[in-house]
């Protein structure tokens, strides 16, 4: 009966973020939070394993106090318990800091048989946390996993690291990052949504993790976010006569030297 941990990030929904046309600065005032897209696949995979063979799933997240809003959402998707570390400075954290905080929290709990992550977060898409976490915890790391099965202490996985499809296996605890193709995250049933309120969640105090100030200082610092506006010609042909539209397009392609 495996003890599984899923790491997730609570991010802003990029569809709610507006770009101010005057200076291209970002307006996130109306942006709602969501579970990072690929982390949903990780949560779903953990839940599927435990539904098949028993065991428990803990969910873990490090973020600003806004992470509180994620608790019921995450718990409605299968995990039995949620642990979270709130830190107002989490927004400036880079992958170095995030991985250290998560690793410190993981070391404080009883060992997990499997640690699952998404391939990368939908806001920053560093694609670093899984391998960093594994390095810090000295665990083997299986990245880009498209399918996996857990039998006892042996994990078998199909990896798609870009140049081939690999079948791999590892015995003992490991960190795994999953691809979005691994499963289709369920929409929680309404009873699951309501059941989330009954599941335990616990805030882990950042200063209980034994991290030095240096550990919490990001080394990759982001500055001056600016909206990316496509600056295109936006010439649209929309007459009811398709042939006329096509003729105009072909003429434009010729003018651009593309035909």
């Amino acid at each position: 009966m495996p003890k599984i941990l899923v790491c997730y990030k609570w991010v802003l929904n990029e569809q709610d973020i507006k770009i101010r046309p005057e200076d291209l600065s970002l307006d996130a005032s109306r942006a709602k939070g969501k579970i990072s897209d690929f982390d949903r696949n990780a949560i779903e995979e953990a839940t599927l394993i435990v539904e098949q063979q028993g065991g428990t799933v803990d969910a873990l997240s490090y973020g600003t106090p806004a992470v509180r809003q994620s608790i019921k959402d995450v718990l409605s998707r299968g995990p039995n318990r949620l642990l979270w570390i709130g830190d107002p400075k989490a927004e400036e954290a880079d992958a170095l800091v995030i991985a250290k905080v998560l690793a410190a929290a993981i070391r404080k709990s009883d060992p997990y048989d499997l640690i699952l992550c998404g391939e990368g977060s939908s806001d920053m898409f560093y694609q670093q946390i899984p391998a960093r976490l594994a390095a810090l915890l000295e665990l083997p790391c299986l990245t880009f996993v498209a399918r996996m099965t857990l039998e006892g202490r042996t994990l078998m996985a199909q990896r798609k690291p870009g140049d081939c499809t690999e079948m791999v296996s590892v015995t003992g605890p490991a960190v795994v990052s999953v691809l979005s193709e691994i499963n289709k995250p369920r929409i929680p049933s309404l009873k699951q949504v309501l059941g989330a309120a009954k599941k335990p969640s616990e805030e882990i105090a950042l200063d209980s993790l034994g991290l030095a100030a240096g550990d919490l200082t990001p080394k990759a610092v982001r500055k001056s976010p600016k909206g990316f506006l496509m600056n295109r010609k936006n010439v649209v042909f929309k007459e009811s006569d398709a042939a006329a539209n096509v003729a105009k397009l072909v003429a434009s392609l010729k003018a651009e030297g593309l035909h």
């Binding site: 019921k72 309404l190 309120a197």
Partner: protein, 378 residues
């Protein structure tokens, strides 16, 4: 009392929105063209616990209350008002049985309704005057086995796909309108036939047909509530319908507003997006405001229901508001979109036809004004 949602209610609304995007958006246009009942979607609704939202836990319901119900209905209706209709009419039957059913009836019928393995329907209207206002033409006569039902019910939603119907019938023609009683009737009852499906203007996909009762024999245990409870059952259940349909209407309105606003931003005339025109902004602002206020009004009614308090007056108020503004809402959004919005290619025509169904049909046994005036002038 708060008009703001609890976290659960918000999450339920969000789940309904996600469900609608996943399961309803892909089928809604075809369903509107063919009128075909979306059996697979209803099965998915059942699996996601939408069909037992306010039913008690001991019968397998989610016990989530009525504010959750209206949140779910609005969010489903934003994608498909027809599917919302299916859920609403099922909910009316479930509500009536939970509210007035004897312990044995609740045990017998509610679990299947909660699980969605049986769909419900609520048969009250007839081709003649509305029962309660006039006498019901559907007669229930005492026979040795219990009751015999003879007559026809009209405009029954979910007809033909429901597994059971709550049927309002007249038990004593001499007593007229006051002798209304409710019965739980299995769709398989011998003598019960479903008439041909009506071709409706909108809400296509939610089946509508007559139910013909040709000497349908029911056991005594089929009586729902007391023999004189029929009027109360109709009044209260249709008040719930008002609230639920208000949520459905607001959902349609919300979809229309969003579509029109998105359109106004991209449609350029005389060098500017029409969204910059005062007239367009006024139309959109009015429509958005009507939706917002209606939503608050129906939430209040739903909260009163949650608290077990009388809610019929508030339900009548929101019904009356939407009867006046529901169609205006769609007329205004079509005005924003102009000829483009008028084309069947676009969602607005379907929304227009759907909102006609939700705002103009099914006046309760009492017209809304009468309910409100009665409360004021008592």
């Amino acid at each position: 009392m708060s008009i703001l949602l609890t976290e659960e209610q918000e999450l339920i609304g969000q789940s309904a929105r996600d469900f609608a995007k996943e399961y309803l958006d892909p089928i809604v246009v075809d369903m509107d063209h063919t009128g075909q009942y979306p059996a697979a979607v209803v099965k998915a609704l059942a699996e996601h616990d939408f069909l037992g939202l306010f039913l008690q836990g001991e019968y397998g319901g989610a016990e989530a209350g009525y504010v959750s119900l209206v949140e779910a209905i609005e969010n489903l209706a934003r994608s498909s008002a027809a599917v919302a209709s299916i859920v609403i009419n099922h909910s009316l039957a479930a509500y009536a049985i939970q509210r007035w059913g004897a312990a044995s009836q609740k045990k017998d019928y509610l679990p299947a309704l909660a699980a969605g393995s049986t769909l419900g329907g609520f048969a009250v209207f007839e081709h003649g005057p509305t029962p309660g206002v006039g006498a019901s033409a559907l007669q229930a006569t005492r026979v040795p086995e219990g009751w015999a039902l003879k007559g026809t019910k009209a405009y029954v939603r979910n007809a033909g796909v429901a597994g059971l119907y709550v049927v309002l019938a007249c038990t004593d023609p001499a007593a007229g309108a006051k002798s209304l009683a409710a019965f739980i009737v299995s769709a398989k009852a011998s003598g019960l036939t479903v008439g041909p499906l009506a071709e409706t203007m909108g809400l296509k996909g939610c089946p509508v047909a007559d139910l013909v009762f040709d000497n349908v024999i029911l056991a005594e245990s089929a009586l729902l509530g007391g023999i004189a409870d029929g009027n109360a059952i109709v009044t209260e259940t249709l008040a719930l319908a008002s609230v639920a349909e208000a949520a459905q209407t607001v959902g349609i309105g919300q979809a229309a507003v969003e579509h029109a606003a998105a359109y106004a931003k991209t449609r350029v005339q005389f060098g500017r997006p029409i969204a910059s025109l005062q007239a367009i902004q006024t139309l959109l602002a009015e429509v958005a405001t009507d939706c917002h206020l209606a939503r608050l009004g129906l939430r209040v009614a739903a909260q009163l229901l949650d608290q077990g308090e009388p809610f019929q007056v508030e339900a009548a108020m929101v019904k009356q508001f939407l009867a006046r503004f529901g169609s205006k809402l769609l007329i205004d959004t079509v005005q924003v979109e102009g000829g483009f919005g008028y084309s069947e290619f676009m969602p607005l025509p379907r929304l227009f036809r759907d909102i006609a169904g939700t705002t103009l049909l099914e006046a309760p046994a009492d017209y809304p004004e009468k309910t409100i005036a009665a409360a004021l002038l008592a």
